[in-house]
């Protein structure tokens, strides 16, 4: 060998050092060796990408040995998860290699079973149908429902449908945005700056396991902070979730009564004068009593609080403890940068909108807007706009809002919107339906309705990796590449305070004959020709992404995901109004994006109140004028002409009980939740489905590991359990480990499901908490037939205002089917050694 071994080792040593040494040629080392040294072992490499198993879009680093992925870990530089990776993400490889993934397109035979077909045949058939719709001007008879995490795919799907002449596109998302529109005038869930807050009050949301980005919450509140200045958590909810147990303060409330507790807290803040007077005076509307155009005095939020929600009553309404309400209020008042976040079970009830309004009103009282550790609107992602195209005849406006179509609320609707699944289930006159990245037949309370509807639609095309419950009801199933096999993007998850765009790249070539749905759509457009082909000119989804993301580079905003040093530098520059110019050209930027796993922009536009509050008053509206207009409109269409009776009539049409005045309806207030089923039976329980950490996403449970640790916080996996408070269990004569059926007559299709009893001291009495995500049919392998799916038996109730389906809507009764089989499970009590 020409060089000394010792030298070679030095060469191997540094990463930066190696480059300089190698290139300056001090050692007579063959070029190939230098290359190897740079590349490291050469057989093993790490690739950054984005996890695609749930809507969060955490960054992952894939470890490849001999080009086979053998390990996933969180990308430590990704701003969302900072190296953390939830169990579902960890299971990514098991999902990738899941034995029952679809190997190729399937086509339904006339008699109902599926047969394997090729992409060629499948796409030809679909393109023919699309072509027919296009030529006959019947684009409206097509619809697209998806749940893909990325905004860019949504754009592509919308354009696809617009080009076809249809407005029927909907994206299933987690939280409804309506409350934020009513109070803040924005059409998005705002960001909550968990990373800078010192106290987070979580209303109904199990912040550390649920929500769009739980790992972000953990890393922002705990992981990336010193022990001294980490954020405390206060949790209001009915379940003893891991988040609740980790909260500094926990307030157990009956399901659906969060608003009462929150308003009680607001009462204390106002009564003790410990709210942000400055902010309330300058930036809010409807706090004090006010006089409308007609000169009538209207109820202010302050008076409503003081009259109605004194702690005793708030506690009584929510079944909680008044002292705790006061304690929490004072704690919030003491905190420097508190923020209130609402979600989960609190937004899954018939009163969800008002509950969210109440929780958000706390943010206003605390002056939590536009300050570090408060409510923020992440900056818009500067994507390259889609090139203009001439829409097909009869196509709606391109902006996507205000369109009519099946996914818009019908004109006679009392609510603002309609749940897309329900809309689809009720739609007739559809010829073609595309479903992608979503499994409503399984996870929506309207799933069984939808299943029937799918039978009516002549051509249902499902993009799916598995022959899951929804795909099984389709006519053509197109296999989808998983996140490790394809180019994909993910955009800022709901509730995150900065904008982020994750880029997922293929790290292995697709194991099976699968494609990204975007690629399939582009191919379909090409084949269908006409307006479709011109509207979607991209050769591949990758090319589409590349073009759209070019805007990030040219805007000069944000930066490619990088280490903390570069981050603070970008921050420094941008806060001073300088642009951090990405180096290099288009290709270099693209490669940087792919290599690092995405782009982000942590900088927020401060002081832009017009952006923050886009209501008609330009302020935060405690009293929602838009809601008033809506209610009045309802009354007017029912025949009332005067404002006040119209309002009253409008409220009545929602089927609510308002005690004080009609004004209350437009203010955050407590509205008792509607619960259906089992009448007033004393032993009836409120069914509260929840999503455990292990149940994120739709296909995670294809992993045996995930099934095995499904119930890891409370018990072992492979079963659905029901959490009952000890007194509830005692009353029902149930013990830990007993197998029960939960029955209701509220659901039109199925009435019972099975679970194993888990006694949870600290859970609220009278509630039955059940995990979603199990009881699958169609994922194949390990998951099928494991556990049961509570969604099957839910009553079809909706949020009165937003129209979103409510999952906390059902009362059930439990029947013991089998006593605990195994002897001697010991209740875990007592301290440690």
């Amino acid at each position: 060998m020409i060089f000394e071994r010792r030298d070679f080792l030095k060469l191997l040593g540094g990463t930066v050092g190696t480059v300089s040494l190698g290139s300056c040629g001090r050692f007579l080392v063959p070029d190939r060796m230098v290359e190897q040294a740079l590349r490291g072992p050469g057989i093993e490499r790490q690739v950054n990408t984005i996890c695609g198993l749930c809507e969060g879009g955490c960054g992952v680093t894939v470890r490849l040995v001999d080009d086979l992925p053998v390990g996933l870990k969180g990308n430590s530089r990704h701003p969302l998860n900072r190296g953390g990776l939830c169990p579902v993400g960890q299971a990514g490889l098991e999902v990738l290699y899941a034995p029952n993934r679809l190997q190729g397109p399937l086509r339904r035979r006339p008699e109902g079973s599926f047969e394997a077909t090729g992409w060629e045949e499948a796409l030809t058939e679909i393109a023919k149908s699309l072509g027919d719709l296009q030529s006959s001007g019947n684009g409206r008879r097509a619809a697209f429902l998806h749940g893909e995490p990325g905004q860019l795919f949504d754009d592509l799907a919308r354009r696809f449908m617009q080009a076809l002449g249809s407005a029927n596109v909907a994206r299933r998302r987690g939280e409804t945005v309506l409350p934020y529109r009513l109070a803040q005038g924005i059409d998005q869930v705002p960001g909550f700056d968990l990373a800078n807050s010192d106290l987070v009050l979580s209303v109904g949301l199990d912040l550390f396991e649920d929500g769009a980005a739980p790992i972000h919450a953990v890393s922002a509140m705990v992981g990336s902070r010193d022990q001294a200045n980490r954020a405390s958590l206060i949790h209001i909810g009915s379940r003893l979730s891991p988040s609740a147990t980790k909260a500094a303060e926990r307030l157990a409330v009956a399901p659906g009564t969060h608003a009462a507790a929150v308003l009680g807290i607001a009462h204390v803040l106002v009564r003790e004068g410990r709210y942000d007077r400055n902010f309330v005076a300058k930036h809010t509307f409807g706090f004090e009593d006010w006089t409308d155009d007609r000169g009538e005095t209207r109820l202010g939020f302050r008076r409503l609080l003081l009259e109605q929600y004194y702690p005793d009553r708030a506690a009584q309404l929510s079944g909680s403890d008044p002292r705790a309400i006061i304690r929490i209020a004072r704690r919030l008042a003491r905190a420097e940068r508190p923020v209130v976040i609402c979600g989960g079970e609190a937004t899954s009830t018939s009163n969800a909108t008002w509950t969210t309004l109440a929780a958000h009103a706390l943010n206003a009282l605390l002056g939590a807007f536009d300050r570090p550790g408060g409510v923020a609107l992440p900056s818009t992602v500067p994507l390259t706009p889609l090139p203009p195209f001439s829409a097909a005849d009869g196509a709606p406006a391109q902006d996507g809002t205000g369109h009519s179509g099946i996914f818009a609320a019908p004109t006679d609707s009392t609510s603002f919107g309609i749940d897309p699944v329900e809309a689809l289930a009720g739609a007739d006159e559809l010829d073609v339906l595309f479903l992608s990245g979503t499994n409503p037949v399984y996870d929506s309370p309207a799933g069984s309705d939808l299943k029937k509807a799918l039978e009516r639609i002549p051509l249902v095309v499902a993009f799916s990796s598995f022959l899951d419950e929804t795909a099984a009801a389709a006519d053509i199933v197109l296999p989808v590449s998983l996140f490790l096999e394809t180019w994909q993007e993910s955009t800022t998850p709901e509730g995150v305070a900065f904008s982020v765009l994750g880029v997922s790249q293929p790290v292995v070539s697709p194991l099976f004959d699968s494609r990204h749905p975007g690629d399939a759509l582009l191919e379909l457009a090409r084949r269908a020709g006409g307006g479709l082909a011109t509207a979607l000119p991209w050769s591949s989804y990758e090319a589409y992404l590349k073009e759209r993301l070019e805007g990030l580079r040219t805007s000069g905003q944000g930066s490619v995901i990088s280490g903390s040093f570069e981050e603070s530098w970008v921050h420094f520059l941008e806060e001073r109004g300088w642009r951090f110019l990405e180096s290099g050209d288009r290709e270099a930027f693209w490669q940087g994006l792919a290599r690092k796993g995405g782009w982000w922009n942590p900088v927020l536009a401060r002081g832009d109140w017009n952006r923050m509050f886009r209501t008609s008053t330009g302020r935060y509206e405690f009293f929602s004028l838009e809601l008033e207009r809506h209610l009045e409109g309802l009354g007017r269409s029912a025949g009332e002409s005067e404002p006040e009776p119209a309002l009253r009539r409008g409220i009545e049409s929602l089927g609510l009980v308002i005690e004080a005045s009609v004004d209350e309806a437009c203010l955050p207030h407590f509205e008792p939740p509607r619960l259906a089923g089992s009448g007033a039976a004393a032993d009836a329980l409120t069914l509260v489905p929840f999503r455990p950490m292990t149940g994120r996403g739709d296909i995670g449970v294809a992993s045996p590991m995930l099934l095995e640790m499904y119930g890891y916080p409370v018990l072992s996996g492979w079963q659905t359990w029901v959490e009952l408070a000890p007194e509830t269990a005692h009353q029902l004569h149930l013990d830990e480990g007993d197998q029960v059926t939960l029955e209701t007559e509220a659901s039109p299709y199925e009435s019972a499901f099975e679970a194993v009893v888990k006694i949870e001291p600290g859970a609220v009495a009278g509630a039955a908490h059940v995990p979603c995500g199990l009881g699958r049919e169609g994922l194949g392998g390990a998951a099928d037939g494991v556990g049961d799916n509570p969604v099957r038996i839910l009553a079809r109730d909706r949020d009165s205002v937003s129209g979103a389906l409510a999952t906390v809507s059902t009362r059930v009764r439990s029947t013991l089917i089998k006593k605990r089989a195994r002897g001697g499970a010991r209740p875990l009590v007592g301290g440690h050694g």
Partner: protein, 164 residues
């Protein structure tokens, strides 16, 4: 039936991995001549066994490496002709591994050849002189052999250094 299967599996020409205690030599698909490449042409071991110094596995070169020179025949050797065929067909040469350690053993070439500066010959013998492919391990990587050498060289014999 089973016996016949077992016999086939253990026969010199079986494509399956073979235990190293078999008395016969393992047959390679091409009679590779180390001597020509190393002694006459002056290649270093790592020129072909690319990762011997940098990685856990030294790797056995295959057509990607061989194609650098043997895209077209350099000699009239019938053995080379086989290789050229493989390259032309884009097919991997089904080399047979001679040295293998069980799954529960972690053996790193880098740790030995690079960090420990052990010459290849110590374990692989005077391979440069071989005109035929190696049919049997020069030195069998058994635990006793490993531990003996570790003992002599002062390397640790702690179990978890090698067992994972």
């Amino acid at each position: 039936m089973t016996a016949a299967g077992a016999l086939f599996a253990l026969s010199p020409s079986s494509p399956l991995p073979q235990p190293d205690w078999l008395p016969w030599r393992i047959q390679q698909p091409i009679a590779f001549n180390h001597n020509v490449h190393v002694e006459e042409l002056g290649f270093e071991c790592v020129d072909c066994h690319l990762y011997a110094l940098t990685s856990v596995r030294a790797t056995i070169p295959n057509i990607e490496n061989c194609a650098d020179c043997h895209e077209e025949a350099q000699t009239e050797s019938p053995e080379e002709a086989k290789l050229v065929e493989y390259i032309a067909a884009g097919e991997k040469v089904p080399w047979r591994k001679i040295y293998r350690v069980p799954d529960h053993v972690y053996f790193s070439h880098r740790r030995h050849a690079s960090i420990g500066a052990i010459e290849c010959e110590v374990c692989h013998g005077p391979i440069a002189e071989q005109v035929k492919p190696v049919g049997r391990p020069y030195w069998r990587p058994t635990m006793d052999n490993c531990m003996e050498c570790h003992e002599e060289s002062g390397a640790s014999n702690d179990c978890v250094y090698c067992h994972d």
